[in-house]
Symmetry: C2
Subunit: 355 residues, 2 copies
């Protein structure tokens, strides 16, 4: 028997229902800007230990909620859990970002890829979701998440982060068949992974397409959006997952919001390069919008943060369907008191838009 949800603003906003104030959470709200996070991470030894230990993952997930009156918790994990579970050997080099020991660069490597079992290789994730949901005890909803197929594939083919995406785009233009096979396995993997997170207790799910914005309109549709759409369709076709809101976020995807809304998702995440007023005019009768203040605003003094929050709220305007968030993850160097100022300002200043 799950406890009653005491604060359902976030889920109501994703469904474009009325709320008292605009709900707010922050991408990477459990992260390095919090000293208590750094303490737990140092206890864990390294980043992957932290992700793979459900008790520690639960601990850091809840830390920002103890500081700020956030309206949602998000599972603490990494976007690269799926390729790691596929046997690619994820590791982190200090200051270098994620790397894979076995990048997927040829036909043979592609042929070996298989959908990981979310209740076996990825059991540490579903265990963390169950534990966090229990510990939250109905305070706020819990968000599950995954990287998008395209974004996961960039790391798998490049062997790590990239500025130019030359390996994966080389494959895309030279051997599109090979890339489509990778993306098909990933779309299946993400679908069962998110379904398992929902089964374990996630009350909304978000797909992070961090690198979709590196594509052209045609290749975005074919190599990123098509596979996110398959995921949405699978989740919406199954009675056990269909009522859970799905948020799609393509960083740099501001030009393609109409196409993204066509996927059947419930909400779109927006970075700060698109005005909420424009986005709302384009797709706001079909999906909720989540975003979109520049995380760099948090380097400003609290009074300026408040002004910027006011502008963001005014851009969305009156009515339902807005979840306040940053346009990307909070930076490690941000002062936690500035994050507090943002959250407070959202709740205080948004009341007028919900009367």
């Amino acid at each position: 028997m799950k406890p009653t949800l005491k604060n359902d603003r976030f889920l109501r906003a994703l469904r474009r229902q009325a709320v008292d104030v605009t709900p707010v959470w922050m991408m990477r709200q459990a992260g390095r800007y919090l000293p208590e996070y750094r303490a737990t991470r140092s206890k864990a030894g390294n980043f992957m230990n932290l992700c793979q230990n459900p008790e520690l993952a639960c601990e850091v997930t809840l830390q920002p909620l103890d500081r700020f009156p956030l309206d949602a918790a998000i599972l603490f994990s990494d976007i690269l859990t799926i390729p790691d579970a596929m046997g690619l050997g994820l590791y982190f080099e200090e200051g270098e970002g994620p790397r894979f020991q076995h990048p997927v660069t040829d036909e043979e490597a592609v042929a070996k890829l298989a959908v990981p079992d979310p209740n076996d290789e990825l059991r540490y994730v579903t265990d963390a979701v169950s534990l966090i949901r229990r510990e939250l005890d109905g305070r706020v909803p819990l968000i599950g998440f995954s990287g998008s197929p395209w974004t996961l594939a960039t790391y798998m083919v490049e062997g790590g982060s990239s500025k130019t995406f030359s390996c994966i785009k080389g494959m895309m233009y030279s051997r599109p068949d090979l890339l489509h096979r990778i993306l098909a396995v990933l779309a299946d993997s993400v679908s069962v992974y998110l379904a398992a997170q929902i089964e374990a207790g996630a009350q909304a799910v978000m797909v992070f397409d961090t690198w979709g914005g590196s594509l052209s309109p045609a290749t975005y549709r074919e190599f990123s959006l098509a596979y996110m759409t398959k995921i949405v369709e699978k989740l919406k076709a199954d009675a056990t997952t269909r009522d859970v809101p799905v948020v799609l976020f393509t960083k740099g995807g501001g030009q393609w919001l109409e196409l993204m809304a066509d996927s059947g998702c419930d909400a779109l995440g927006l970075d700060w390069t698109t005005d909420l007023s424009d986005a709302r005019a384009r797709v706001g009768d079909r999906v909720a919008l989540q975003g979109n203040i520049d995380p760099c605003v948090l380097y400003a003094p609290p009074d300026t943060i408040r002004e910027q929050v006011a502008m963001t709220l005014a851009s969305f305007g009156k009515g339902n369907g807005h979840v306040f968030n940053l346009g990307h993850g909070i930076h490690p160097a941000v002062n936690p008191e500035h994050a507090a100022a943002l959250v407070e300002a959202v709740h205080e200043l948004s009341r007028q838009y919900h009367q």
Copy 2:
């Protein structure tokens, strides 16, 4: 007495006049993908020596024209010549990109900034322009260029490249007055710098706003576009510069094309995230368009390059006002024969659109 221009397709297309085939050049066409460039650079010792020696800069500017039937030459130089001439001490660390010894981080450093004299501190640039123009002997037009004020300021305030722009955006939100002073000096500097390049022989000029796409719509207008507009206005107000076409290129600026066209410029550079057909429908009756194939297409085999060129040409369609280009600089790992295939395909396949 300047020699007659034998190939004026590029200038005609920028003025949206009829041409026989679509003109083509490639951003960074004089660059590391060419073995002859690597030989000259190694002779120069380092990158800044190459930029500061007019004979060597002329040599590398002309190299791609000897290989490919390109329709324009572009001055070989660096975008950071202006801040270097301001005394910030530009240097390059292997694999690290450009750095400044004296970043502009406080009021005192801002107060010291002054407009460099293009015929003194930047004389090596105008000398290179004169020499290249003479050596070109009317084969194709010569493009001069500068970084945009915002883009130059990012390097000056960050002290080098950045992924997050946290220093300059911290300044933008905390001390906008300080950043406006930096940008005002830079807009004046770029204006006289481009005017001097024109005086020395540049037949078109391009402003590279490589990092404008990191801004929000409101901050883009205030901190990047406003200053590019000042530059365009100054060039268009002076009888000696007004007839020279000005191209503005904001990478990641696909959402703001209408605003950019309002600047009074003659053409917009486009990256590959916007379809030329859409861009043309939005602003093509006011400005020419330059772009926009993904440079990663050049990793594909020549047949695929040809198909992608065909799609890009078809996207613009029949009529005047298209300069073919990549959506960003050519990558160092590209095979020069693939660049040849692109140039050849543009000329061959575009003839049908100009009948």
